[in-house]
C-alpha cells in the first residue's frame, strides 16, 4: 500500500525551500483531489455510476473550501516555524563552524583579531572623541530646554542680567555664571583652580543631583560656600567621603564645602573644559563690579517655559535688549542678541573660533584612522581570500553534492562574523585604553580638560557596527569568489587561477598606496613639529619667571602693582620686571577686540586684533625690540591720554608701517614693536595692540621677571607677594615652562599621525609578506625546476622581489600623488613645510621600498633554499 520515500532513519539531504502561500494552497488542493478521486474510484468499483460515485465522495468529504482554508493556515504556520528554526539551527551551526575554523587556525585568527582590535580600536577612540564633542547630550536635566542668552563677544553686566531676568516671560528662570580662577591651598601648596562664579539658582536650574552633599540653592545667602567638581574631589581630596562640611582655603579665604557634583558635570560649558568648583556670586553692595552696568562679566542661561520656543525667546530678548540699550546708552553692548540651544553643537556658538581647529583636527583624525582601517581590512580580506583558495576543493565537493551557494557563503561569512564580534570587543577595550591615554595627555595642559570618553550605547553600536561591516566587507568578496568556481577544474585541483591572485595584488597595491599617504602625512607633521620647536616666537622666554597673580578687582590691581614692581626690581639678580595681562603662548588667556584705525567709522565693524596690557619695561623683559616710537612710561597712567603700542603687522595692515602718531579708537599709537607669536607657534602673526596696564588694569595679571637666578628670584617673589598682598594666590613658573604648552598641539598631531602611519605601514608590510608567501608557495614547483636547471638563490629572490616591486612602485606613485593632494587640506596644521616637501616624500619612499623589500625577500629566500629535488618529488 505504501512506498517508502527514503530509507528509514535516514536524514533528509535536500529540503524543500520555504514554500509560498500559493504553493501551499495548490498542495492542499492536490491532496484533497487525490482523496476524492480515490474514493470515487472505490465507490465505482462497488457499483455506483461515475457521477453518483463522485457526488458521494464529495459529500463524504464535507466542506472542501473550509478544509482547504484550515489546512493552508496550518501549513503556513508550519512553514514559518520550520524556516525560522532552520535559520536558527543553521546560524548556530554556522557560528559553531566559524568558531571551529578560527580555533583550528590560531595563527590566522590571532593575526586577524589583533589587526581588528587595533584598527577598530583606533577608529572607536576617535569616534569616542566625536561622541564626547558633539553627540553626548549635556549631562543636565532636560538640556534641550536650556537656552544661552548670548549678547555678542562681550558678556553681560550684572544689572542687565537682573533686568532681563525680571522682565522676561519666556523663561522659567534665568541664571548667570562667569569663569573664575582661584588659588586652592592645601597644606603648603597652592594650585590654580578654574571654576565658576554662579548665581545661587544656577545649579538647581540645571537640576543635577550632586554625588555628595547638596548644591547651593536660591535660599542660600552665604557666599563662603563651594561646590566641588568630581575631579577636584578625586585628585585633590582623595575621594574623601567626609568632605561635606569641611572648610577649604580658596585665595586665602575659607569656604565650606556644600557638595560634590557627579563626574562629567560641567555646568553648561562645551565639552572638554570642566570647571573645578562653583561658588555663589557675591552680590553684596561691597561688590562694585555688580553695580556698574558697563562691567560685563557674566554669561546668561535660561530654562524655557513649557510651550515656549527658542525663536520666541529670542524675539523677546531682542526687544528687551533694545530697551536696555536705549535706557542706559549701552552702545558697545548687545551688539548681538541671540538665544540658542545649549545642548548639541549650539553649545559651541560663541566659542567656535577656539574650537574650530579642534574640530578640524578630529575630522582629520577620523579620515586618517579610517584609512588605517581600510589598510587593515585589506589584510584581513587577503587572509580570508587565501583561506578560501586553500579550501577550494572542499567547497567544490560540497557544491557538487548540492549544497546551496547562499548557505556556503553564509557559512564562510560566519567566520567573519565571529571575527567581528571578537575583534569588536577587543576594539572597545583598545578604545577605552586610548581614551584614558588621551585624558592623561590632557592633564599636561594648563587648564582642566577632561573628555567624557566613557563607553555609551553609541560607542558600542558604532564599534560593533564598524567591526561587523568591516568583517562582512572583508569576508564577502572572498566568500563569493570561493563559491563561484568551475567545479570540474576545482575538483581536478587545477591551477587556482590567476584572477584571485590579481585581486590580492590590487589589495596590496592599495595598502601600499594608503600607508604611503599616511606616512607622508605623518612625516609632514613630524617635520612641522621640528619646525615649530625651531620657530622664533619673537620673544625670548629663557631667563624669565612668570607669576600669575589674581587679585579681587581692577582697583586692587592698580594699588598693588607699583609697590610690587619696585620690590621685585630690588631683588638681587633681577634685571627687569613688568606686568602683563596675557602671557603669550601659554594658552591661559587671550583678549580680542575689533578696532577702528584712525577712528574711521565704517559700515562694517572694524578688523580683529589680539591685545595685551603691559607696564613699562615689558618689551625689554621679553626682549621684544622696539622698532619705532617709544615704550610706555610711568607717566602713561590713569588720567593721562590713552596710549597704545602696535606690532609690525598691525602697523603694516592699518597704516602702511607708519603707525606712530596715528589714532586707534580712543588711543594714540606711540610705538611699534617687532612681531611676536601670541597664541600658537604655528600661527601667522596677528595684528596686536598693547595698551598701558595702569590705564586699563585687570584683576588677573602676570608678573614677568628677567633674572640671572631663576630659583632665587622665584623664592624672593613668593615672599614679596606674601608681604604686599598676603591673601592673593600666586602661581610662579619659568616662562619656558609656560610656553612649552604651545607645542602640545603639534606634538599631539605628530604623535597621532605617526602612530597611525606606522600602523598602516606595518599592516601593509604584513600584506606584502602574506601575498609573497602565498605566491612563493604556489610557485614552489616552478622554483624547484628553475633551481634544478641552474638558477642561483639570488636569481630566485630577484624573480620574486621583482614581482612585488611592481606593485610597490604603483602604490608608491599613487600614494605620493594622493598624499600630496590631500596634504593641501593639512595646511592649517603643518607649519613651515610644503605639502610636497621633497625630503618627506623621499624618506617615505625609501621607508616603504625598504620594508617591502625585506617583507618579500624573506619568503623568497626561504623558497630558494629548499632543495629542488625534494620539491619536485613531493609533487
Amino acid at each position: 500500500m505504501t512506498r517508502p520515500i527514503r530509507p528509514h532513519g535516514s536524514k533528509r539531504i535536500f529540503r524543500f525551500l520555504r514554500r509560498s502561500k500559493k504553493d501551499v494552497q495548490s498542495d492542499v488542493r492536490e491532496e484533497f483531489a487525490f482523496h476524492v478521486d480515490m474514493r470515487a474510484e472505490d465507490l465505482r468499483r462497488e457499483g455506483l455510476s461515475e457521477s453518483a460515485a463522485r457526488d458521494q465522495a464529495l459529500r463524504e468529504f464535507g466542506n472542501v473550501a473550509r478544509g482547504i482554508d484550515a489546512c493552508v493556515r496550518e501549513d503556513i504556520g508550519i512553514e514559518r516555524r520550520r524556516s525560522l528554526s532552520r535559520f536558527a539551527t543553521e546560524l548556530r551551526q554556522d557560528v559553531r563552524f566559524g568558531l571551529r575554523l578560527i580555533g583550528r587556525n590560531r595563527r590566522f585568527a590571532s593575526v586577524a583579531i589583533a589587526t581588528l582590535a587595533i584598527v577598530i580600536g583606533g577608529n572607536a577612540a576617535i569616534f569616542s572623541v566625536i561622541n564626547a564633542l558633539a553627540l553626548k547630550p549635556l549631562p543636565v536635566n532636560q538640556p534641550d530646554r536650556l537656552a544661552r542668552v548670548y549678547s555678542g563677544e562681550s558678556q553681560m553686566s550684572w544689572l542687565n542680567y537682573q533686568d532681563l531676568r525680571a522682565r522676561s516671560t519666556s523663561f522659567e528662570d534665568m541664571a548667570a555664571h562667569a569663569s573664575a580662577m582661584r588659588g586652592l591651598t592645601r597644606g603648603d601648596t597652592t594650585v590654580r583652580a578654574m571654576g565658576e562664579v554662579v548665581t545661587t539658582n544656577y545649579l538647581t536650574m540645571l537640576g543635577v543631583a550632586p554625588r555628595l552633599g547638596r548644591p547651593f540653592t536660591p535660599a542660600d545667602t552665604r557666599t563662603d560656600v563651594v561646590v566641588l567638581s568630581d575631579r577636584v574631589w578625586r585628585t585633590r581630596y582623595g575621594s574623601d567621603s567626609r568632605i561635606v562640611g569641611r572648610w577649604i582655603t580658596f585665595d586665602n579665604a575659607r569656604y565650606e564645602v556644600l557638595g560634590v557634583m557627579p563626574a562629567g558635570f560641567r555646568g553648561i560649558r562645551p565639552p572638554g573644559l570642566v570647571p573645578e568648583f562653583w561658588v555663589p556670586v557675591d552680590s553684596s553692595p561691597a561688590n562694585g563690579v555688580l553695580r556698574d552696568r558697563k562691567k560685563t562679566a557674566f554669561e546668561v542661561v535660561g530654562r524655557l517655559k513649557e510651550r515656549r520656543d527658542f525663536a520666541g525667546a529670542q524675539a523677546e530678548m531682542a526687544v528687551l535688549a533694545k530697551q536696555l540699550k536705549a535706557d542706559y546708552a549701552l552702545d558697545d553692548q548687545f551688539t548681538v542678541m541671540a538665544v540658542f540651544a545649549v545642548d548639541g553643537l549650539g553649545g559651541y556658538r560663541g566659542v567656535s573660533n577656539v574650537m574650530l581647529p579642534m574640530f578640524l583636527f578630529v575630522g582629520l583624525m577620523t579620515i586618517v584612522s579610517g584609512l588605517v582601517l581600510v589598510v587593515g581590512c585589506a589584510n584581513i580580506g587577503g587572509l580570508l581570500l587565501a583561506r578560501g583558495a586553500a579550501r577550494r576543493r572542499e567547497i567544490a565537493v560540497r557544491l557538487a553534492l548540492g549544497a546551496g551557494r547562499g548557505r556556503l557563503i553564509r557559512q564562510l561569512l560566519a567566520e567573519s562574523f565571529v571575527l567581528a564580534v571578537i575583534g569588536g570587543s577587543a576594539g572597545i577595550m583598545v578604545a577605552w585604553w586610548l581614551g584614558d591615554m588621551l585624558n592623561l595627555l590632557a592633564t599636561r595642559l594648563p587648564f582642566p580638560i577632561e573628555f567624557d570618553l566613557t563607553i555609551d550605547r553609541w560607542m558600542v553600536v558604532y564599534t560593533f557596527g564598524l567591526a561587523l561591516v568591516t568583517c562582512l566587507l572583508c569576508g564577502l568578496t572572498p566568500a563569493r569568489r570561493a563559491t563561484r568556481l568551475e567545479l570540474v577544474s576545482a575538483l581536478k585541483d587545477d591551477d587556482p587561477g590567476a584572477v584571485r591572485q590579481r585581486f590580492r595584488q590590487v589589495l596590496v597595491a592599495g595598502q601600499v598606496t594608503l600607508s604611503c599617504l599616511l606616512l607622508l602625512w605623518s612625516g609632514l607633521f613630524v617635520r612641522s613639529l621640528l619646525n615649530v620647536q625651531r620657530i622664533d616666537p619673537g620673544f625670548d622666554p629663557t631667563g624669565v619667571v612668570v607669576a600669575n597673580i589674581v587679585v579681587d578687582d581692577d582697583r586692587q590691581a592698580i594699588a598693588v602693582a607699583p609697590e610690587l614692581l619696585a620690590r621685585i626690581r630690588a631683588v638681587p639678580g633681577v634685571q627687569s620686571a613688568a606686568l602683563s595681562t596675557v602671557v603669550p603662548l601659554s594658552l591661559t588667556g587671550r583678549e580680542e577686540h575689533r578696532v577702528h584705525p584712525d577712528n574711521v567709522a565704517t559700515d562694517t565693524r572694524g578688523p580683529w586684533v589680539v591685545a595685551n596690557r603691559v607696564t613699562p619695561g615689558w618689551f625689554e623683559t621679553l626682549r621684544i625690540p622696539l622698532i619705532a616710537g617709544r615704550d610706555f612710561q610711568t607717566s602713561d597712567g590713569p588720567g593721562a591720554p590713552l596710549v597704545a603700542i602696535v606690532n609690525e603687522t598691525a602697523a603694516r595692515m592699518f597704516w602702511n608701517g607708519q603707525a606712530v602718531g596715528r589714532r586707534l579708537d580712543d588711543f594714540e599709537v606711540i610705538g611699534t614693536v617687532r612681531d611676536s607669536k601670541y597664541w600658537t607657534l604655528g600661527e601667522t602673526v596677528r595684528p596686536t595692540v598693547y595698551t598701558a596696564f595702569m590705564q586699563r588694569p585687570f584683576s588677573e595679571m602676570n608678573l614677568n621677571v628677567r633674572t640671572t637666578d631663576l630659583a632665587g628670584t622665584t623664592a624672593a617673589l613668593r615672599s614679596e607677594m606674601r608681604r604686599v598682598a598676603p591673601d592673593v594666590f600666586v602661581e610662579i613658573k619659568p616662562l619656558t615652562a609656560a610656553v612649552a604648552v604651545a607645542i602640545v598641539p603639534a606634538q599631539v598631531g605628530a604623535m597621532l599621525t605617526a602612530t597611525f602611519g606606522a600602523l598602516a605601514a606595518m599592516l601593509a608590510t604584513m600584506g606584502v609578506y602574506g601575498l609573497v608567501s602565498l605566491t612563493v608557495a604556489q610557485r614552489t614547483r616552478e622554483i624547484g625546476i628553475r633551481k634544478a636547471i641552474g638558477a642561483r638563490t639570488i636569481d630566485v629572490v630577484r624573480l620574486v622581489v621583482r614581482g612585488s616591486m611592481t606593485l610597490v612602485t604603483i602604490g608608491l606613485a599613487a600614494g605620493t600623488v594622493l598624499g600630496a593632494l590631500g596634504a593641501r587640506a593639512l595646511g592649517g596644521f603643518i607649519v613651515g613645510v610644503s605639502p610636497i616637501d621633497p625630503l618627506t616624500i623621499s624618506a617615505t619612499a625609501m621607508l616603504v621600498v625598504g620594508t617591502v623589500l625585506i617583507a618579500s625577500a624573506l619568503p623568497a629566500l626561504r623558497a630558494a633554499r629548499v632543495d629542488p629535488v625534494r620539491t619536485l618529488k613531493s609533487e
Binding site: T2, F34, D37, R39, E60, N63, I78
Partner: protein, 110 residues
C-alpha cells in the same frame, strides 16, 4: 452521519490517525479507509476534518509529510510518524485503555 455511526469525541480523531500511521507511512485516503474498515463503518471521520487533523498533527511535529507516488502511480502526500509521534500514540492508547476500562467498570453491572 447515519444512526449506525457514532460522532467522535474531541481528540479521538488524532488518536485514530496516529494509530493508522503506526503500521507505516501512508496517505490520507488510506487513513480514512483504514478507520472505516477497522471499525466496520461504525466510526466515520468527515474527510475534511481528517485532513485538518493531519495537518495539525504535522504542525505539532508528531507526523511529517512528503510527496510520493501511490500504488496507481499518482502523486500523493504520504504521512509518517515521527519519533515524537510514536511516543504520543503509545501514550494515548494507554490513556484510552484506562479511560475505557474505567467507563466500563461504571456501566457494567458488577
Amino acid at each position: 452521519m447515519g444512526d449506525s455511526t457514532l460522532g467522535l469525541l474531541q481528540g479521538t480523531v488524532d488518536l485514530l490517525i496516529l494509530r493508522a500511521l503506526q503500521s507505516g507511512p501512508t496517505h490520507g485516503y488510506a487513513v480514512s479507509r483504514w478507520v472505516r474498515e477497522r471499525t466496520e463503518g461504525v466510526l466515520t471521520i468527515e474527510d475534511a476534518a481528517l485532513y485538518q487533523a493531519l495537518h495539525r498533527l504535522e504542525g505539532r511535529g508528531w507526523i511529517e509529510a512528503e510527496w510520493g507516488l501511490s500504488d496507481n502511480n499518482r502523486k500523493a502526500k504520504y504521512y509518517r510518524l515521527t519519533a515524537a509521534g510514536r511516543r504520543q500514540v503509545r501514550a494515548e492508547i494507554s490513556l484510552w485503555k484506562r479511560y475505557a476500562e474505567a467507563v466500563f467498570k461504571v456501566i457494567e453491572p458488577a
